[in-house]
Amino acid sequence: MKITKVKTEEKSNARGVAWYLRDRWEAIANNRLMLPILLMVGFVLSFAIPQFNLVNPYVQIIIMYIGINIILTTSLNIVNGYMGEFSIGHAGFMAVGAYVSSLLTLYVFPRSLVFLFFPLGIIAGGVVAALVSLIVAIPSFKTRGDYLAIITLAFLFIVKSVLENISAIGGPRGIVGIDKLTTMPWVFFFTVLSLWVIRNFIHSNYGRGVLSIREDEVASRLMSVNTRQVKFLAFAVSSFFAGVAGALFAHLLQFISPRVFDVLKSTDILIMVYLGGIGSIAGSILGATIYTVLLEVLRPLGMFRMVLMPLLLVFLMLYRPRGIMGLRELRWFVPIQDLKFVKRWRRKKVSTDGNSAS
């Protein structure tokens, strides 16, 4: 494997501990091998933790929730962050994925081999969610902004209403007795998979199309970006992973009902996206983690927990309107060519600035 080291600018001769630490951090951050190493460590841990109960089951559940939330947040970030739309219907796609996969594992797959078919069920849930997203993608061609928000909201209510009215799948009672097939390795695997796919999608041509739609849709159409295709894909990828997250969620909770996937759930995911930072994968990870952990950690505050959380959110928005990592990305996630390009561009900018200044 070729180890590519992107040269850092020279820090002035390490003055004191702070500079030294910064140097070390730069070295680690620039080492592209870090990410695969972390992934392997994570993979091993995801098996070890449940096996040897390295942390108690409560913390294990929280870790799994974090994983699921990361998938949800990153997938919503494609539509809300990178594409600049306002979708409130994410919980609806999650619901589709949850229901489809639960019905498959309960009624379709052979009972004894259910744990083998589990990933198939998850993927199926994601695929159906992606297909359903067409319902939202098509109106998005004509409308933008706040009108699209209404359409996604309407979609959410329709999904909820449909699920409530079909008694065959439980109606308002929901589905009970789903197998507990979600384990930490599965959550880890699908989290990494979704991050990898989404990261590649964003840094591909389609991803550039998505970004251009956010900046200026008409201009991008003039620049021969096929906005329809790009929007389709963006919604499809986003809802696919929402469906995947829904499937994992259902098999962890062992019980789902239409009520679980309501506007409040969508709002939660929305908050996580904006908390961590729009248009940033590292931001999504950060937002999901902070939100989930903070909710648990603030429990001793009792009822004031839910008074404090929105207040913190408001303060955060006031001081960092784009979220903690708004529009910025962690170096490990950005492809090398992009990093090099930015480096070159910055150097060029500095030199031209220097020229014009002198």
Binding site: G174, L253, V260, R299, P300
Partner: protein, 390 residues
């Protein structure tokens, strides 16, 4: 500067909460008992009642010196957690109480939609769980094996029993031939009882002429009620919560509907009378206990609760208090603070005189054998009307 302010604020809160978590007064022997209540979310009133009753029950025991188990006195360490009205939090809260706080048993959640996922955790972790108020029949049945669960119990009767009670009452006592129902389609409690009522009423030869629905949170029922009025029923069944029923009856009266209304145990709060006033006069509902023929146990409880919290306890409070009573009884019988022993003792409680009546458990089912009472609202009070035995 501002950034550091925000960061330091968050850090301070985190540290504060961690300190609070670690801080537990442990002088002498203590038993941790967990409560999973819906303090925020869509049914905060239920959570508040549950919390109040729990605090009262534990305070009574602790003030008397503690619970006597196997010759030693134990103080109860009550840990109340909020599940925020979300199923996933209900799961994590139950797991937290079991794994992190090492409770000997979990009381709650109250609403079936939060109790069902929590029950799965309790059963797989082999920890006793008592739901005070969840009436969904599926709660105590293992969905995989269709057998009763071993560790999940409840203090109340089930929907299927209640639905039958009300249907029989309507047919036999009120002599109704045609009935109409208005219920919340998005809530399994309401829908469950409505369905059982319909089935029972029709099997007794009656006719359900109106079966209308609304969604949780709706306040305007004029459309559905107008439609019901058209169908001319003898009686209208409203298996809905006490904050919705006064509105429904009020609107019905405004539309000129004069037939009597029937309800289920979700009516069982004094709030109903407070909110409904004269509108609810004369109507009937089924519930767990009657305040006026109350046993000494119940009278004592009502008096203590009213003194402590300034309002008459509702059925959630009474059932929570009974859940704790059952748990204390089981602990005493078990003779030791052990999860399995407590569970076995609970399953064998042959006779417990609670606030909500006499409860009896048989090995093999987490559902108590208890009677229901029919109450009528007369002169602004709940008055006993009849008993329905299983």
């Amino acid at each position: 500067m501002r950034k550091t302010l925000v960061i330091s604020l968050v850090a301070m809160l985190t540290i504060m909460s961690m300190v609070l978590v670690g801080c537990k007064s442990s002088a002498g022997l203590t038993i941790p008992i967990g409560v999973n209540a819906e303090l925020t979310g869509d049914i905060p009133a239920v959570g508040a009642s549950c919390k109040n009753a729990a605090l009262m029950a534990v305070k009574e025991i602790n003030d008397a010196g503690g619970l006597d188990i196997g010759g030693k006195k134990y103080t109860i360490n009550l840990i109340i957690e909020d599940d925020g009205g979300k199923a996933d939090q209900s799961v994590s809260v139950t797991q937290k109480l079991i794994s992190q706080d090492s409770v000997v048993a979990v009381i709650g959640p109250n609403a079936s939609r939060y109790a069902l996922p929590a029950a799965a955790i309790a059963e797989s972790s082999k920890v006793l769980m008592i739901s005070p108020w969840s009436t969904n029949a599926q709660l105590t049945i293992d969905p995989k094996t269709r057998q009763p669960m071993k560790y999940v119990f409840r203090a109340c009767f089930t929907d299927s029993f209640q639905g039958q009670v009300v249907a029989k009452f309507a047919m036999n006592t009120l002599g109704a031939k045609k009935a109409a129902v208005l219920y919340d389609v998005a809530s399994d409690y309401n829908k469950g009882i409505a369905d059982v009522f319909k089935a029972t009423f029709e099997s007794l030869g009656g006719q359900v002429v109106g079966f209308e629905t609304y969604t949780t949170g709706d306040k305007d029922f004029s459309g559905q009620l107008t439609k019901i009025k058209q169908s001319n029923p003898n009686v209208i069944f409203l298996p809905n919560y006490y904050n919705e029923v006064p509105l429904q009856i009020q609107q019905a009266h405004r539309l000129g509907i004069t037939v009597p209304f029937l309800g289920s145990d979700s009516w069982g709060s004094q709030e109903l009378i407070k909110l409904g006033g004269k509108e609810v006069e004369g109507d009937y509902f089924s519930t767990h206990y009657a305040p006026d023929i109350a046993t000494p146990v119940a009278k004592k409880f009502v008096a203590a609760y009213t003194t402590a919290y300034g309002s008459v306890p509702d059925d959630v409070a009474a059932l929570t208090y009974d859940s704790f009573g059952l748990l204390f009884e089981a602990l005493k019988t078990a003779g030791k603070v052990d999860r399995q022993a407590v569970r076995d003792a609970m399953a064998g409680i042959a006779h417990y005189e609670g606030v909500t009546g006499n409860l009896q458990f048989k090995e093999g089912s987490g559902d108590p054998i208890k009677s229901a009472v029919i109450l009528q609202i007369k002169n602004g009070k709940f008055v006993y009307f009849a008993t329905a035995n299983p």
